[in-house]
């Protein structure tokens, strides 16, 4: 598509012909107040907040329904357009309760933002004149609605209709008494909580996150959801209350047009809980907590004892770096290594949008690194194994073998357990169901020193380089040359 050049206030910009003016402004970091427009949803033009002046047009136009043209001249700050925006915002706020101090959206709210930007008028409405609506409607699927705070932008309605295809949120009533309502119990076909992100104000909140933390305290990491092989891009929002432990409060989708657009499924979204809870934090031997040095010496003794038959199993839940470290580690001790193939396949989880049946985030990576996934060879080896090094594979073992387990959560049937960092606490790469290599990085800090699997194995073999990123970068390309340029 050809590009056109246009002027917006003092900026000269170039963008593809026919792009929506509002998107061009947002992409270029220019301020344009808006409620109803959202990149992922079609223009709806209902809030009328995005008014701009366009030279040659009598009336102000909405930027969200204006395709750009060559030579277009747009003004957003003249006194008359500011007056227009102020007047519309005043109407928007007329029936709004203005209860920001007790609102969970405070700090992330478009109304607050625009009020500071264009508002600042005197209140012409007595509080007693406002229409009162329901303040707490539990719609279902962890989504709670405050009808008074709703600006009726219909983002939520359009999302369930056009994206989630569940059509279970609607506007009922009309005029100023319109409200958002759920048809039955709101499910959004398993994508319900996206409406909380879409809601530009504090009308839709998540009962899972509501009041848990003020948003301005949260630290956000760019990560990848490990809930299935789609690998939706996410923000990991976490925070350590003074002196307390660093805790994950929520996962939010992070835009990636090639993978998940702006969204993620609800199962993925609440999967963060397992990263906070019930973690394996210390080494255990025979069910008792012990020190790393004790565990390491036991482990080394086993590895050096050539009379024992040792087999290693690894799951597709690890990053490429961790998988590669397991591979190197096993090669060094000449331990046969097998990957899981059939594990974590859950056909009922798949849907027509983001969710896929493969619940593991890196099966493609496991295969690319050439880890043996044939079930026959694995089962034959397992039946003879005396010790199984279990890297999160979780296979059922015969009563004859002893399990040495490396994982993030306790294992009930392991002789030895070694705790490692979860993906929220480390960085790495994954290959998703569409063969896209993705990077995640997590900076959640636990009070206990949890090492990444690759760093832990590096300690065991006394290879300091194993803890470093450049080493794995080179090693991975060495193991799988097709990764060149994709890491």
């Amino acid at each position: 598509m050809s590009n056109v050049t246009l002027r917006i206030d003092e900026h000269t910009l170039t963008a593809p012909k026919g792009s929506l003016l509002i998107q061009v402004m947002l992409d270029n970091g220019l301020s344009i107040p808006h409620f109803c427009y959202h990149e992922a949803l079609e223009a709806d033009g209902n809030c009328r907040m995005c008014m701009v002046e366009i030279e040659g047009q009598k009336r102000p136009q909405i930027a969200c329904n204006t395709p750009i043209k060559e030579g277009m001249i747009v003004r957003t700050t003249t006194p008359s357009i500011m007056q227009t925006k102020r007047a519309i915002l005043e109407l928007e706020l007329r029936n709004h309760p203005v209860d920001c101090p007790i609102c969970d959206q405070a700090g992330e709210c478009s109304l607050q933002e625009y009020y500071m930007e264009v508002g600042l008028y005197d209140a012409h409405v007595a509080k007693s004149d406002k229409i009162h609506k329901a303040k707490h409607v539990d719609l279902g699927s962890h989504v709670v609605l405050d009808q008074e705070r709703c600006v009726l932008c219909q983002r939520c309605v359009r999302f369930v209709h056009d994206k989630a295809k569940s059509a279970d949120l609607v506007v009922t009533g009309r005029g100023a008494t319109s409200v958002i309502s759920a048809v039955g119990a709101f499910t959004g076909n398993g994508y319900a909580m996206n409406v909380v992100d879409l809601c530009p104000v504090g009308a839709l909140t998540s009962s899972d996150f509501r009041f848990a933390q003020r948003v301005w305290f949260l630290q956000s990491d760019a990560s990848i959801c490990h809930g299935c092989a789609r690998g939706c891009n996410i923000h990991l929002d976490h925070h350590a209350i003074k002196g307390g432990i660093d805790t994950l409060y929520r996962l939010r989708p992070r835009k990636n047009s090639a993978v998940n657009g702006h969204f993620m499924c609800d199962t993925g979204r609440i999967s963060y809980k397992s990263l906070n809870e019930n973690r394996l934090l210390e080494p255990h031997v025979e069910g008792h907590a012990t020190s790393f040095s004790h565990t390491f010496s036991l482990l080394r003794r086993t590895l050096d004892d050539k009379s024992q038959t040792i087999v290693a199993l690894v799951s597709p839940h690890w990053s490429l770096e961790n998988l590669a470290s397991v591979k190197l580690f096993c090669a060094r001790f000449e331990i046969p290594l097998f990957g899981a193939h059939e594990a974590s396949i859950e056909p009922s989880f798949a849907d027509e949008w983001l969710r896929v049946a493969d619940r593991a985030p890196n099966r493609a990576g496991l295969e690319l690194l050439g880890i043996d996934v044939s079930p026959h060879a694995r089962d034959r080896a397992l039946s003879r194994a005396q010790v199984v090094l279990d890297f999160g594979h979780d296979a059922t073992l015969s009563s004859m073998s002893t399990r040495y387990y490396f994982g993030t959560h306790p294992h009930s049937d392991a002789q030895m357990q070694l705790p490692v960092a979860a993906y929220s606490e480390e960085s790495g790469h994954l290959i998703n169901c569409d063969n896209i290599v993705q990077h995640y990085s997590g900076s959640v800090k636990r009070s206990e020193p949890l090492l990444s699997l690759h760093a832990l194995l590096g300690l065991l073999v006394m290879e300091g380089a194993w803890a470093t990123q450049p080493f794995w970068h080179a090693t991975l390309i060495d193991m799988a040359p097709s990764l060149e340029g994709r890491l």
């Binding site: 227009t84 007329r94 229409i131 609607v170 009309r174 100023a176």
Partner: protein, 404 residues
């Protein structure tokens, strides 16, 4: 004044709504001849007739029909029978007294538009008229007038919302969604029903088609004025002695119509104000009404709009504040609530005027009201918003002393 009756010719005939009586009085007589003509020639006749849409906007019908040129099939015709605006009650007379005229108009229009299916969207409250029209449709199907060889007509009842008379909201509603107007296209194009090119016309517009095609474009043009050809079913309501609908050629003096057809103002009182074309047109003072003529151009000259021709007459005893309060209560209730300025502005304006009517206005009531009207005007998805602004401004401009 003597003139042809385009849509009300059979109104006075007993049982004119039945097929047998309608046929005895000329219905469907030239149908097969006309259906044998090439569609484009029918469109040309409609263009030549100068017919303008009678749903309030007055858009030239022929030019609108031409928007279908080159559009893929199937195409649809949708007949707007939502008639929900205060002061407008003409379409239901056609449906009550001559439903076969409408059916014949649809058949001819569908042929001209090369549409095989038509939908009639009828106001939910029009139960009686719905049943009447359905019986006529059943009769037409029974007689083979409708069906396989011509086109199919489906009658659909709305759920009772004024906004569903707005054509794109109507189509949303017909598709099964909430009746909310769609964003206007950037250049002229047809409407879209289930993604197919569609024409929406008012009941009376379509009911005018048989006359035009039977008698020719010139016969229609011979009535009315140059810019407003033909006739309209004018409605008279309010403080007149004989409220009702009267089919008249365009261009008659407003006061003459009130006198001659409406029988003058009730109780011999003086005229105070007229809302000339359905609630959404700006109110005129008696003075402005004096020289006004009932045509699109005449009403514009007088400072209002012809709209649907449904006149609301108010005598000297009327409180203009109460009248506006009453109108705004309607708009407040009927705003679909989609756009912020209309949703909130209509509600706010209504409560301000209600406060004035109760003599308890805030000190800034008038400037606030004017600001609201300014904010609603031209900043909404459909023209409901600007119409409300026009209504408010008309009252404030023409009767300032009553709002002071």
């Amino acid at each position: 004044m003597s003139h042809d009756l385009v849509v009300s010719a059979r109104f006075g005939i007993a049982n004119s709504h039945t097929l047998i009586v309608a046929q005895a009085h000329g219905a469907y007589t030239q149908l097969s001849t006309l259906l044998a003509q090439p569609p484009q020639s029918l469109v040309q006749t409609v263009i030549d007739s100068g017919l303008r849409g009678k749903g309030g906007g007055g858009a030239p019908t022929g030019a609108k029909w031409q928007l279908l040129e080159g559009q893929a099939k199937p195409r649809y015709l949708v007949v707007n029978a939502d008639e929900s605006e205060p002061g407008t009650f003409k379409d239901r007379h056609i449906i009550e007294h001559d439903p076969h005229l409408l059916i014949e108009g649809i058949l001819l229009s569908c042929h001209a538009l090369e549409a095989k299916a038509a939908y009639i969207y009828m106001r939910g409250e029009y139960r009686f008229w719905h049943d009447r029209l359905q019986s006529a449709l059943d009769e037409a199907y029974g007689a083979g007038i409708l069906g396989a060889h011509s086109c199919d007509i489906t009658l659909h009842r709305g759920a009772g919302a004024y906004i569903c008379g707005e054509k794109s909201a109507l189509l949303e509603s017909l598709e099964g969604y909430r009746g909310q107007p769609r964003l206007k296209p950037h250049r002229p194009e047809p409407e879209w029903l289930w993604g197919r090119a569609t024409i929406v016309n008012n009941v009376e517009t379509i009911a005018s088609i048989p006359y035009i095609l039977y008698k020719g474009a010139q016969a229609y043009r011979a009535m009315g004025t140059k810019e407003s050809a033909g006739t309209l079913l004018f409605g008279l309501s309010g403080h007149v002695n004989r409220p009702g609908v009267y089919e008249l050629p365009f261009g008659m003096p407003l006061l003459e119509v009130i006198e001659t057809y409406g029988g003058g103002i009730r109780d011999g009182r003086a005229l105070k104000a007229v809302i000339p074309g359905g609630a959404s047109t700006p109110v005129l003072t008696a003075e402005q009404a004096k020289n006004a003529t009932l045509s699109y151009e005449g009403m514009k000259l007088a400072g209002s709009a012809l709209g649907t021709g449904g006149m609301i007459i108010m005598d000297e005893s009327t409180s203009m504040v109460d009248a506006l309060d009453n109108l705004l209560a309607f708009y407040r209730h009927e705003s679909c609530g989609q756009c912020t300025p209309c949703r909130e502005g209509t509600h706010w304006a209504s409560s301000i005027v209600h406060d004035i009517a109760r003599r308890q206005p805030r000190s800034d009531a008038l400037p606030t009201l004017k600001n609201i009207a300014r904010t609603i005007n031209g900043q909404t998805i459909c023209v409901f918003g600007p119409a409300v602004a026009d209504v408010i401004n008309g009252f404030l401009r023409n009767f300032p002393q009553e709002f002071a």
